[in-house]
């Protein structure tokens, strides 16, 4: 019996513990029919864990969930789907080789005797897409669709299962502005028909267009649920971080006349279609843009991690086009990769071992025969550990056993093994807590103020906006805008995110 007076979704006292981590503690969340409810918070705040519980991926350690007044307990995503919870995760679950309608009915095929009823599924898919006003040929293979279209198929899948609650996890992360508008139009319609929508995002400007209420999570706790109309952007950021904005981001002294240290000219590679830029000593150059805008790939290419099609790279006045990663590192460039697990760290080695690897090229650590001075290495790794703030006891533990924040500190520590001229940080604070974040910002400040050239590539807008002296906005493989000083503001940046740059190649 669904009770119309009861809220559509009510999660109360939800706590989730993983071995060694408390991901959520006592979270309450209420979603009404026809409401667009935004979940807002940093990476690691617990948003994903919370929706994973609602969609049946995880079971809560304690707490209760009611759907329309009836208490439920989900053992699988399937259970949740049956109860009317439809989830569109960030990673899509489409089989690329299958046509859209078969993807739609995957796992719940319509049958005619022992055979699948292709005609009925085709008709059903077309009818659903017409109702949702999605213009997609359902016989095309999923792989031929754009990301936005794939997302629509995912949403359609949720509706095919009669979703009463639709959960969208960062749905606009890879959509263009036009696609985003269409998605918002659809969300409005769905909400008007009484579906409850839970929308996860950290793009304030964007979700303020559609949100009714916003729940802010931080460190696994629900901080507040506020009305979208009455809460300003600044208030939201302060609720999210728990600190005044200017407390989080340090003021970094800018040396505007520093010499140019590294230049990239006419860079072309997969995903980058001709971009020029330069970095000066003593400045922080920010690179912002959507996923796939080329902001990260241009630097990966410059570092020799991705083949360069054409263009010229100059380091300290020398042409280093086509130089190997190793040669660039030796020439004084430090590159901090965005994915510390796959590219940054030896997960089974200790924090010390990870830092030591970067020390081995120093003559005072490993002599001409390659023998490593143990005492010297120990002293240096200890000093670096101190500098980046790794606890003494953590130095000799396997990195896999450390928290995300400590892992990121180890990764930063590798940059202090040697004196470098250019520091490139690709997503420097991904998945770390607020305290570590502030510590890492202090390190970036110290590096820039010591006269080094610093590049910060980040999908976290407040971060890249507040740290940068100059900000490059990437869109579709080109630099859409260069902003500096007071021009670095969210509306300016977002405007260029979707820029159709003129003169396409």
């Amino acid at each position: 019996m669904s009770n119309l007076a009861a809220p559509l979704v009510e999660m109360s006292g939800i706590t989730k513990e993983f071995p060694g981590v408390k991901a959520l503690s006592g979270v309450h969340l209420k979603v009404e029919r026809g409401e667009v409810h935004v979940l807002f918070g940093e990476n690691g705040a617990g948003k994903s864990t919370l929706i994973s519980i609602l969609s049946g991926v995880f079971r809560p350690t304690s707490g209760a969930i009611s759907i329309a007044g009836r208490e439920v307990s989900f053992h699988s995503v399937h259970d949740a789907a049956k109860a009317g919870i439809g989830t569109v995760f960030q990673e899509f679950s489409l089989v690329p080789t299958l046509p859209v309608f078969e993807n739609l009915y995957l796992g719940r095929e319509l049958m005619r005797g022992p055979l699948t009823d292709r005609r009925a599924m085709l008709a059903g898919a077309r009818k659903l897409f017409a109702e949702l006003d999605f213009d997609i040929d359902v016989t095309r293979p999923a792989s031929s669709l754009s990301r936005a279209q794939q997302q629509m198929v995912e949403i359609a899948k949720a509706f095919l299962a009669n979703a009463r609650v639709l959960i969208l996890d960062e749905p606009t992360a890879s959509l263009t502005e036009r696609e985003t508008e269409r998605l918002f139009g659809f969300i409005g319609k769905a909400a008007a028909s009484g579906v409850g929508i839970i929308y996860i995002s950290h793009r304030i400007q964007e979700f303020q267009k559609i949100a009714d209420r916003i729940s802010i999570l931080r460190d696994g706790r629900l901080i507040a649920t506020v009305s979208a109309r009455d809460t300003s952007e600044r208030e939201l950021i302060e609720l999210m971080t728990g600190r005044a904005v200017d407390q989080v981001y340090p003021e970094i002294a800018h040396r505007a006349d520093g010499p140019v240290v590294m230049t990239l000219e006419g860079i072309r590679t997969a995903g980058v279609h001709g971009a020029d830029l330069e970095v000066r000593a003593g400045e922080v150059l920010g690179c912002a843009g959507l996923v796939g805008s080329g902001k990260s790939r241009i630097w990966r290419t410059a570092m020799g991690l991705q083949p360069l099609q054409s263009g010229k790279i100059t380091l300290k006045g020398r042409d280093v086009t086509g130089a190997s990663t190793r040669a660039l590192l030796k020439d004084g460039v430090f590159f901090l990769p965005s994915d510390r697990k796959s590219e940054g760290l030896q997960m089974t080695a200790s924090a010390r071992g990870n830092i030591e690897i970067s020390l081995l090229d120093r003559d005072d650590v490993a002599g001409p025969l390659g023998f490593v001075g143990l005492r010297r290495s120990r002293a240096l790794t200890d000093a670096i550990g101190d500098k980046v703030g790794i606890a003494k006891g953590a130095m000799d533990r396997a990195v896999s056993k450390l928290s995300g924040g400590n892992q990121q500190k180890v990764l930063f520590g590798k940059g202090f093994a040697d004196d470098r001229d250019v520091y490139i940080f690709d997503e420097p604070t991904v998945g770390v807590d607020m305290g570590t974040r502030m510590a890492l910002y202090q390190l970036i400040k110290a590096i820039a103020e010591a006269g080094k050239a610093v590049v910060v590539i980040s999908s976290d807008l407040p971060e890249v906006m507040n740290l940068s002296h100059r900000l490059l906005v990437f869109a579709k493989g080109r630099i859409a805008a260069e902003l500096s000083g007071s021009a670095i503001a969210e509306e300016n940046v977002l405007k260029h995110f979707f820029a159709e740059t003129e003169g396409s190649a």
Binding site: T325, S342, Q346, M347, A366
Partner: protein, 348 residues
Amino acid sequence: MSMPTTTIAEDTSRPRRGHALLTGLRAVFLRVGVLPFFLVATLIAFSLVSKEFLALQNLTNVARQSVYLILVSLGQMLALVTGGFDLSVGTAIALTSVVSALAMVALSHVLPPDMLWLVIVLGCCAGLAAALVIGSINGLGVAVFGVSPFIMTLGVQSVGAGIALFLTGGVPVSGVPYEFGDILGFGRVFDIPVPVLVAVVAATTIWLVMNRTRLGKHIQAVGGNVKAARLSGVNTTKVLFIAYIMCALLASVAGLLLTARVGSGETNLGGTIALESIAACVIAGVSLHGGIGRVENVVLGGFFIVLLQNGMNIAQIGSYMQMVLLGSLLVLAVILDQFRYRLLVGER
């Protein structure tokens, strides 16, 4: 005589009882892998079968016999730690044996008898050079062209074996100088057999390389996470290349010692050693995922395999059944390694 020893072996790996015992065993498993458990089980099982098994003389014998496998396993460990493996170690042994024997025979006809030393030294060098070629081809394929170590070393295994058979026509190469066997095969220095001495020197060297040099740390880094190693400035191509060369050379040294022992160049000396050396390493806690491996444990692992074979011989288990057991043990060790790796990396 045998019972007290068994109890001691049991006691050292089984502290207290109940929960403490489990935590203790878990810690040992995480640190060194399955080897202590297998070793204890083997010692108990075979000492029950026969009193001879734990006799000092038998154990010394096992130690001496295990020298060859230990040498090969040390090389195999290097390949495994980089995240690959080398199936062509048997071929490196066979080719070393054949080439060194052929070289010595040919040289002894050319050079005057009083230059016998030169014949032996040059013969050994020829054998090592043959292995160097094998290692370089493996290294080239794996490090430069990115061929999977499985396919690369499997292919080279066949190529090398074919060449060795072609060179000899399948007939053992006789006429190797007696002095060669007298020294490398049966010689003693300070009453220690030369092969044992060679193994001790090799193990010490590899231990130093892995624990005290840049190269060793780079080998571990490449196996632990190739991308991270590259981004730390490690020349990953060079490191992989060197690892496969060192692996082939260590097998080659074992090949020379074996040739000296049997007194002729044989194409079948390396028969099952690829499987045995991988088994020795994995049982000794070298991870197939790369990045993890300790020299001292590998030495013990090589000893364990030979001990097991010795025990099975004493227990009169036929060689066919021995193959079944050894293969099963390898698979079991890999399953347990998988489990251990997951615990180490801390998967949720």
